[in-house]
C-alpha cells in the first residue's frame, strides 16, 4: 500500500476518535454531578438527590412540553415549506432566484436572526412602528405578549426561518442523486401535476437522503439555547435554557440539579427523534395507498399557493429582520413610533471599528483552522470510501453527526472539566478543536453527496493512463470537486463563526470573537452595538460564500477547455 492509501485509510478512524472522545468525555462530565459527585463543591457521595430536586422544580412539565413541541413543530413546518416549495417551483424562475438567495440566508447566525426577528415583531418593533400611529392609533407601544409567548410561537417562527434555508440546501444537494429530474419527467408524462408528481414520485426517493439533516434540525431545535433565550417564553423557559440558567445560578448547589437536567435534555432530544421516527413509519404506512391512487391534480393549486406564500413569508421575515438590524446600527435616539431612525449616525460603527479588529481576527483564524481541519478529515473519509468502494457503515455515519444530535449544553460543561483535567491551556488550540467538532458534521453533510456522485469512470480513465491513486486524487478528483468543496467549506466557516459556548468555554474566555462580543453585548441593553456585531457576524460568512462561488472558477480557469 502506498503512503497515500495508508494515510487515507487512517482518516476515518482518526475522525471518529476526534468526535467520540470529546462528546463521551463531556457526557461523563455531567453524569457524575447528576448523581451527586463533584468534590470541588463538596459532592462526595453518590445520590439521587439531584434528580429528586429536578422532579420538584416548578414548571418542569411545561418546560418539557415546550422543548418537545417547539422542536417538533418547527422542524415539521420547515420540512413542509421546503417540500411544498420544491414541489411547486423546481426549476422555475422563482426557484433560481431563491437558490441564489440561499447562501447569504444560510450565513445568518441563529442569534442574529433571532435578535432581528424579536425586534421586527415586538410591540415596539418595526412592524408595529410601520402601522403606528396612523392605522393602529398607538402612540405608545401596545402590550401584547410576543415574542416570548407561552406557546412558543415566536420561538417556532425563529427556528423555521433558519431551518428552511438549511434543509433547502441539503435537498438541493440530494435531488440529482435521487434522479429527481428523471422521476419528474416520467410522472409529468403520465399527466401528474407539478406538485403531485414531486410528492408522489420524487419525495419517497428524496426523503431518505435528507433524513439525517432533518434529524440534526430536530436535535438543534429541541435543545437550542440562544434562540430560545431571545424568542422563547421565560416563565417557564425551555429545558435547555433552564439548564444554562441553573448552571449560571450563584447558588452553586443548583449545579447538581443542572447536570441532571442536562441529561434529561439528552432524553428529550432522543424522545423527539423517536417520535419523529415513529411518525415517519406511520406516514409511510398511511401514504402507501395515496401514492398509488392515481389522482394527478388534487390540491395542486392550494399547495402551490402555500409553497409560494410560506417561502416568500420566510424570506421576507428574514430580510426584514436583517433590515431592522441595519437600521438600528445606524440609529441615534429612535423612539416609538418613528419607523425610520432620524438622524442617522455612523457613531456606533465608528466605536465598533476601534475594538473590532481583534475579535475579527480571532473569528477568522478560528474559522479557517476549524474549517481546514474539518474539510481535510471529510475529504479523507470520503476518499477512503472511494478506495474501499463502499460507503461508511451506518453506525460510523451516525457518529459523524454525534455533535449535532447530542445537545451541546449536555456535554460542553463536561468537556471543560476534561480540558482542565488534562491540563490543556484554554485558548486558541482548544477552541479551534472545539469548533471543528461542530463544523465537521456540517461539512460532511454538505460534501458527501457530491463526492459520492462523482463518476468513478474518471478515476478509471486516469488509472488507465497510468496515474497513481494519489495523482488521480490530487489532479483529477479534487479539482473536479473544487466547487462543492468550496461550498462545504463556506458552510463550515459559517458554522464556526456562529459558535458561542465552545468559544467561551474552551477558549477560557480569552478569545473574543464577533459572536462572543455580540452575545455579551446582547446581555447589555445597547441594541445599536449589538446590531453592528450581529451584522459583522453575518458579513464574514457571507464573504466566505461569495469566495466559495468565485474562487474555484478563478483558480481552475486554465483547466477550462479553450473556446
Amino acid at each position: 500500500m502506498t503512503l497515500f492509501e495508508t494515510t487515507v485509510r487512517l482518516v476515518p478512524r482518526l475522525t471518529l476518535l476526534l468526535l467520540i472522545v470529546p462528546v463521551a468525555a463531556g457526557l461523563a462530565g455531567v453524569v457524575a454531578p447528576a448523581f451527586g459527585w463533584l468534590p470541588a463543591l463538596g459532592g462526595e457521595r453518590w445520590t439521587l438527590a439531584p434528580w429528586r430536586a429536578l422532579a420538584q422544580a416548578p414548571g418542569l412539565p411545561d418546560m418539557l412540553r415546550l422543548s418537545l413541541v417547539t422542536g417538533l413543530a418547527s422542524s415539521l413546518a420547515a420540512l413542509a415549506i421546503v417540500v411544498l416549495f420544491l414541489g411547486a417551483f423546481l426549476d422555475s424562475r422563482l426557484f433560481h432566484l431563491v437558490r441564489r438567495l440561499l447562501s447569504p440566508l444560510l450565513a445568518v447566525p441563529h442569534a442574529a436572526a433571532a435578535i432581528g426577528l424579536a425586534f421586527l415583531l415586538a410591540p415596539s418593533g418595526l412592524a408595529s412602528r410601520l402601522i403606528s400611529p396612523w392605522a393602529s392609533g398607538w402612540t405608545q407601544p401596545p402590550d401584547y405578549l410576543f415574542p416570548g409567548d407561552p406557546a412558543g410561537l415566536a420561538l417556532i417562527a425563529g427556528l423555521v426561518l433558519k431551518e428552511v434555508p438549511f434543509l433547502l440546501l441539503m435537498s438541493l444537494a440530494a435531488l440529482p442523486q435521487c434522479q429527481a429530474a428523471e422521476r419528474l419527467q416520467v410522472a409529468r408524462a403520465l399527466g401528474y401535476g407539478r406538485l403531485n408528481a414531486f410528492t408522489k414520485a420524487v419525495l419517497p426517493g428524496l426523503y431518505p437522503l435528507i433524513r439525517l439533516p432533518v434529524y440534526a434540525v430536530i436535535a438543534f431545535a429541541t435543545s437550542t439555547v440562544e434562540v430560545a433565550m431571545i424568542l422563547g417564553p421565560s416563565t417557564p423557559p425551555t429545558l435547555a435554557v433552564t439548564v444554562v440558567r441553573w448552571l449560571g445560578d450563584p447558588d452553586l448547589a443548583l449545579r447538581f440539579q443542572a447536570s441532571a437536567a442536562a441529561l434529561l435534555q439528552l432524553g428529550v432530544t432522543a424522545l423527539a427523534l423517536l417520535m419523529w421516527w415513529l411518525t415517519e413509519r406511520l406516514v409511510a404506512w398511511l401514504a402507501a395507498g395515496w401514492l398509488e391512487n392515481g389522482q394527478r391534480r388534487r390540491g395542486e393549486r392550494l399547495g402551490r399557493g402555500f409553497g409560494a406564500g410560506l417561502t416568500g413569508l420566510a424570506i421576507l421575515l428574514l430580510g426584514a429582520s436583517l433590515a431592522g438590524l441595519a437600521l438600528w446600527s445606524l440609529a441615534a435616539w429612535w423612539p416609538f413610533p418613528a419607523a425610520w431612525p432620524s438622524p442617522m449616525t455612523l457613531d456606533t460603527w465608528r466605536a465598533a471599528a476601534d475594538t473590532a479588529p481583534r475579535p475579527l481576527a480571532h473569528t477568522a483564524s478560528l474559522g479557517l483552522a476549524a474549517t481546514l481541519l474539518a474539510v481535510a478529515l471529510t475529504i479523507g473519509c470520503l476518499e477512503a470510501e472511494t478506495l474501499r468502494r463502499r460507503a461508511l457503515r451506518p453506525g460510523t455515519q451516525l457518529i459523524l453527526y454525534l455533535p449535532l444530535l447530542v445537545p451541546p449544553v449536555a456535554f460542553l460543561y463536561g468537556l471543560v472539566q476534561l480540558q482542565a483535567q488534562l491540563g490543556l491551556t484554554p485558548g486558541w488550540p482548544a477552541a479551534a478543536l472545539g469548533h471543528s467538532l461542530f463544523v465537521l458534521p456540517y461539512v460532511f453533510l454538505s460534501l458527501a453527496e457530491s463526492y459520492r456522485r462523482l463518476d468513478p469512470r474518471w478515476g478509471q480513465v486516469a488509472a488507465a493512463l497510468g496515474a497513481s491513486r494519489a495523482r488521480t486524487f490530487w489532479r483529477v478528483r479534487l479539482p473536479m470537486l473544487a466547487s462543492p468543496i468550496a461550498v462545504a467549506a463556506a458552510v463550515g466557516f459559517a458554522v464556526s463563526v456562529g459558535q458561542y459556548l465552545p468559544t467561551l468555554l474552551l477558549g477560557g474566555g480569552r478569545l473574543a470573537t464577533l459572536t462572543t462580543e455580540a452575545v455579551s453585548l446582547a446581555s447589555g441593553g445597547d441594541r445599536r452595538l449589538t446590531a453592528v456585531y450581529a451584522l459583522g457576524q453575518l458579513a464574514l460568512p457571507a464573504l466566505g460564500f461569495a469566495l466559495a462561488g468565485g474562487l474555484p472558477r478563478l483558480l481552475l480557469r486554465h483547466r477550462r477547455p479553450s473556446p
Binding site: 463533584l38 470541588a40 463543591l41 416548578p58 415586538a122 410591540p123 405608545q140 407601544p141 402590550d143 401584547y144 405578549l145 416570548g148 407561552p150 417564553p233 421565560s234 416563565t235 448552571l247 449560571g248 450563584p250 447558588d251 452553586l252 423612539p335 416609538f336 466605536a351 471599528a353 475594538t355 479588529p357 481583534r358 481576527a361 483564524s365 460543561y413 472539566q417 480540558q419 482542565a420 483535567q421 491540563g423 490543556l424 491551556t425 484554554p426 485558548g427 486558541w428 488550540p429 479551534a432 467561551l504 468555554l505 477560557g508 474566555g509 480569552r510 473574543a512 462580543e517 452575545v519 455579551s520 453585548l521 446582547a522 446581555s523 447589555g524 441593553g525 445597547d526 445599536r528 452595538l529
Partner: protein
C-alpha cells in the same frame, strides 16, 4: 490608550495562536509565595498578563476597562486582558472545573468582578484567594474602619477576600413626558401600576436586580424590618413574607405583559424603557439613566429619583480566584482600580458614572478636585437627592424570597 494600528492588532491576534501552539505543554510554573513588600509585588507583576473576567454587556464599562488596561501597561508593565462575560457564572464554572481537576496554581482567571451572591458561594467553597485587600496600599483611601460597607458584601464580612471597586444604590427612573408623579414607595407603586397598566416590570428572579426589587419591597412591607438583619432561622418566614406575596399577587396583573413574561436582566429593562414599552424602571447604578440618555438609549425626558423611605445600596467588588496564575498582577490591578485617578475617571458621567468608594477626606485637595464635576445632566440624580441607604437583608432572606418566587410565579405562562 496607546494607539496601536488595527493592522498590528490583527497581526498580533493571528500570530498569538501560533505562539500558543508552540508553548503548549510547557511545564507549569512553580509558584513562589507572594512577597510581603508591596514594591516587590509590583516588581513581580511586571511582565505578567492579567486575565480579568468582567461582565461585558456595557460599552461604557468596557471602554473604561480598556483605559485601565492601557494605564496598567504604561505604569506597571502589566498587560490586562478583559475577558468579557455575559454572566459571571461562566467564570465561577471554570474555577470549579479547575479545582476539580486539581489545578491549584495555574488558573485561567486572575481577577473577577463579582456580585455578592457569587462571592458568598465562592467563599463558602474555598474558591477565592486571600485575604488580600489589606495588602493594597490604596485600600486606606476608602477608610474601611469608618465605612463598614466596603468590607461587607451582602451583610457578610468580606474578610479581605475582595477589594471594593464601586458603589451602587437602587435608583428609579421614569419618562417625565409620560409620568407626572412617579410613585414614592411600594404601595404607591401598586396604585400607579393600576392606572398605568403594562408600563412597569422587574427583571426575572433570580436576576440580581429582580431579587433586589423583591428585597426592597419586603423591607417596605414587613412590619419590623430589623428582623431582616438576622438569618431566617428562627423566624416565621411564611408569615413575615406573606405581605410581599399579597403585594405581588395584586401587582402582577398590571405589570408589563401582565407578569407572564419578564425581562432577563437590568439592561433589558433599560432597553424596554428605550423602546417606550415601559414608563418606569430602576437600576443599581445611580448614573446609568443619565449615561444612557447621553448614549441615546433612553428618552431625553428621563428623570431619576430614590424612593421616599430610602433604597437598598451596596458596594461592588473584585476578587482573585484561589488558583489565579498571576496573583501579583491581579493585586496591582486591584490596587490601581482604587487609585484616585481610576476612581475619579470611573465616576465621571461621560466615562462610566459609577460612584466612587473612596473617602474624600482621605484625599489631598488636588486629588479631590478630580472628582468635582460641573455636570448637571437633568436625567441624573443630584448627589444631595440620594436618599437614605437601606442595609441589605441577611442573604438567607434573598434565598427564601427567590425560592418563594420560583414556587409562585416561575410557572405562570
Amino acid at each position: 490608550m496607546p494607539s496601536r494600528s488595527p493592522l498590528r492588532h490583527a497581526a498580533h491576534a493571528l500570530l498569538a495562536p501560533l505562539l500558543a501552539l508552540t508553548t503548549l505543554g510547557t511545564a507549569m510554573a512553580e509558584e513562589a509565595p507572594l512577597p510581603e513588600d508591596w514594591a516587590d509585588i509590583e516588581a513581580l507583576a511586571r511582565g505578567q498578563t492579567v486575565y480579568w473576567n468582567a461582565w461585558g454587556g456595557d460599552a461604557a464599562t468596557n471602554r473604561y476597562i480598556d483605559w485601565a488596561a492601557g494605564r496598567l501597561a504604561e505604569q506597571f508593565g502589566v498587560e490586562v486582558v478583559h475577558v468579557k462575560l455575559d454572566d459571571t457564572a461562566a467564570a465561577v464554572s471554570r474555577v470549579i472545573a479547575e479545582k476539580s481537576a486539581g489545578n491549584v496554581d495555574d488558573g485561567a482567571i486572575d481577577l473577577v468582578w463579582i456580585n455578592g451572591e457569587n462571592f458568598a458561594a465562592m467563599k463558602r467553597h474555598d474558591l477565592l484567594f486571600g485575604p488580600f485587600a489589606s495588602r493594597l496600599p490604596n485600600l486606606a483611601l476608602t477608610a474601611p474602619d469608618e465605612h463598614p460597607e466596603v468590607r461587607t458584601d451582602f451583610t457578610l464580612p468580606t474578610d479581605g477576600f475582595e477589594a471594593p471597586w464601586g458603589k451602587a444604590q437602587l435608583t428609579f427612573y421614569y419618562d417625565a413626558d409620560r409620568v407626572e408623579a412617579p410613585p414614592g414607595g411600594m404601595i404607591e407603586l401598586l396604585d400607579w401600576a393600576q392606572t398605568h397598566p403594562g408600563r412597569f416590570t422587574y427583571p426575572l428572579v433570580p436576576d440580581f436586580l429582580g431579587s433586589t426589587f423583591l428585597k426592597q419591597a419586603l423591607i417596605e412591607l414587613v412590619e419590623d424590618p430589623s428582623v431582616l438583619a438576622e438569618p431566617t432561622d428562627g423566624h416565621d418566614v411564611e408569615a413575615l413574607t406573606a405581605p410581599l406575596w399579597e403585594f405581588l399577587d395584586a401587582l402582577h396583573p398590571y405589570l408589563w405583559r401582565r407578569g407572564r413574561d419578564f425581562p432577563a436582566s437590568g439592561p433589558q429593562l433599560k432597553r424596554l424603557m428605550g423602546d417606550g414599552e415601559l414608563s418606569l424602571a430602576f437600576t443599581f447604578n445611580p448614573s446609568e439613566p443619565a449615561a444612557a440618555v447621553a448614549a441615546r438609549q433612553l428618552p431625553p425626558s428621563t428623570r431619576s429619583y430614590v424612593l421616599d423611605g430610602g433604597t437598598l445600596g451596596n458596594v461592588h467588588f473584585v476578587a482573585i480566584p484561589f488558583n489565579a496564575a498571576h496573583k501579583a498582577g491581579a493585586l496591582v490591578l486591584a490596587n490601581f482600580l482604587l487609585s484616585p485617578e481610576a476612581q475619579a475617571r470611573k465616576q465621571d458621567i461621560d466615562i462610566w458614572g459609577d460612584p466612587t468608594v473612596l473617602d474624600m477626606t482621605k484625599l489631598t485637595s488636588e486629588q479631590r478636585a478630580a472628582f468635582d464635576s460641573e455636570d448637571d445632566h437633568p436625567a441624573r440624580l443630584p448627589p444631595d437627592a440620594m436618599g437614605k441607604l437601606l442595609p441589605e437583608p441577611h442573604p438567607s432572606w434573598m434565598e427564601a424570597l427567590e425560592a418563594g418566587w420560583r414556587e409562585r410565579y416561575a410557572d405562570d405562562g
